[in-house]
Amino acid sequence: MEAIIAPVIDIDRERCTTPFACKKCLQICPTAVLAVHETRMVRLEETDKYLPGTYRLRIAYRDKCSGCNRCVDVCPEDAITVRMLEEVGA
C-alpha cells in the first residue's frame, strides 16, 4: 500500500492570537485535526481567553488532514495555510 502523505499546515500565530475565543477552525474541521491549549494556568482560574497569547492553536492530528481547506476559508485572520508537499517544494 502506498503511504499517504498529509498536507502541511501552517499557523501564523502573529495573526491567530486568541484561538479559544475564535475557535472557528476547530469547529469546522471534519476530522478535528486542530487543537487548542492554554499556555498559562493561573491556579484554579481559567485564563482570559480574550487576552492574546493565553491559548495556542496546535496541529494535533495532521495525518487526518485531507486538505479540504475549510479551516482556511473560515479563518477571519487568514492565519492558516494548507499545502501539499510538492507546493512546499520539498
Binding site: A3, I4, I5, A6, P19, F20, K23, L26, Q27, T31, A32, L34, A35, V36, H37, E38, T39, R40, M41, R43, L44, E45, E46, R56, R58, A60, Y61, R62, D63, K64, C65
Partner: protein
C-alpha cells in the same frame, strides 16, 4: 476475565468496576498532595508554552504517519502498546452498569470535559454544560489537581448523577470509566468520536489498551427489529449499519465495543447484550 479485572480485583460475576474497593481512599493515597507525576510534568511545560509540551511518543508517531513513514509509526505504537498492556486505561461501560456504579454511593462530581475543550473549543462552565464526572473519595480533594479540574466541580447526589448520565446517553454520548493503571479511578466520561482522546487513540492509532471494550457485545434480535433506524448514527465504533438486504439493523461483532448506545435508542428492545467472555471467538477481543 480481561486484564483490567486481573489487576483490579474483578471476577466472572462482577467486573472490576463493580468492586467497591476500587473507589475507596486506598486508591488515592498513592498520590501525595502536589506531587502527582502529571502535575510536575505539565506545570513546567505549560509555563514554557512551547512545543516541548507536546513532544510525546504518540505525537511523534502521528507526525511520522502524516509524513508517510509507517515504519516509525508502527514501531512507536508497538512500543506504546507493550508498555500500556500492563497499565490499561479506560474501559467502555454500558448505561445499566453505570447506574450500578453510581449506586455504590461514593462522592460524584460533574466537571468539564477536557477533550472537547481541546479539539472543538467547547466551554463547559456550569452544571448544564458539564459532560464529565469525577468519582470516588478522591473528589473531596479535587483542588489538589487544578490542572485536571480547571477550577470548578459540582457535587451531585446519586439521583442527580443518574439523571446526568441518562441525559448525555440520550444525546448520544457513550460512557467509559477512566482509571490510571490501577492507581485510582479517575472518572466517568461521556464521550464521542472524534473529540474524545481515548476513542481516537484506539480507533485511529491502534493504541489498544487506551480504551478497552466493554464486557459485552451487542446483538440485534432480527425478530424484533423492524429496521426503523432509530439506533443508526449512535455508534462511535463503525460497528452498526442498516443492512439493506435484510432491512434490519446490523452489528459487526468484532467492531462492537459493547457501549450499548444502540440499545438505549431502540424503541423495540431489539438489541441485546451478550457477555463477551462467553463467546469463544470474542472472549479475547478487548
Amino acid at each position: 476475565m480481561c486484564r483490567m479485572c486481573d489487576s483490579l480485583g474483578g471476577d466472572a460475576a462482577n467486573p472490576w468496576y463493580l468492586n467497591p474497593k476500587n473507589y475507596s481512599n486506598r486508591m488515592y493515597k498513592l498520590r501525595e498532595p502536589g506531587k502527582g507525576p502529571q502535575q510536575a510534568a505539565t506545570a513546567g511545560a505549560i509555563e514554557a508554552g512551547g512545543e516541548a509540551q507536546h513532544a510525546s511518543p504518540i505525537n511523534t508517531a502521528i507526525e511520522a504517519k502524516a509524513n508517510g513513514d509507517m515504519e516509525t509509526f508502527n514501531k512507536i505504537i508497538g512500543e506504546m502498546n507493550k508498555r500500556a498492556a500492563l497499565r490499561p486505561g479506560c474501559q467502555v461501560v454500558p448505561l445499566h452498569e453505570v447506574m450500578e456504579v453510581l449506586d455504590m454511593g461514593m462522592p460524584v462530581a460533574a466537571m468539564q470535559c477536557i477533550c472537547r475543550k481541546t479539539t472543538r473549543g467547547c466551554e463547559e462552565c456550569s452544571l448544564k454544560e458539564y459532560t464529565g464526572l469525577g468519582l470516588g473519595t478522591g473528589m473531596l480533594k479535587w483542588e489538589r489537581w487544578p490542572e485536571r479540574y480547571r477550577g470548578k466541580v459540582e457535587f451531585l447526589s446519586t439521583k442527580q448523577a443518574k439523571e446526568f448520565v441518562e441525559f448525555w446517553d440520550k444525546k448520544g454520548f457513550m460512557h467509559m470509566l477512566m482509571q490510571e493503571g490501577g492507581d485510582f479511578i479517575g472518572g466517568l466520561c461521556n464521550c464521542d468520536y472524534p473529540d474524545c482522546l481515548p476513542i481516537r487513540q484506539r480507533i485511529d492509532y491502534g493504541l489498544t489498551a487506551q480504551l478497552v471494550k466493554s464486557e459485552y457485545v451487542c446483538f440485534v434480535d432480527w425478530d424484533k427489529c423492524n429496521g426503523c433506524g432509530d439506533c443508526l448514527g449512535r455508534c462511535d465504533f463503525n460497528a452498526l449499519k442498516y443492512e439493506a438486504t435484510t432491512e434490519k439493523a446490523h452489528i459487526d461483532q468484532f467492531q462492537c465495543f459493547g457501549c450499548g448506545l444502540c440499545e438505549t435508542a431502540c424503541p423495540r428492545n431489539a438489541i441485546e447484550y451478550r457477555d463477551r467472555k462467553q463467546i469463544p471467538g470474542l472472549a479475547k477481543v478487548w
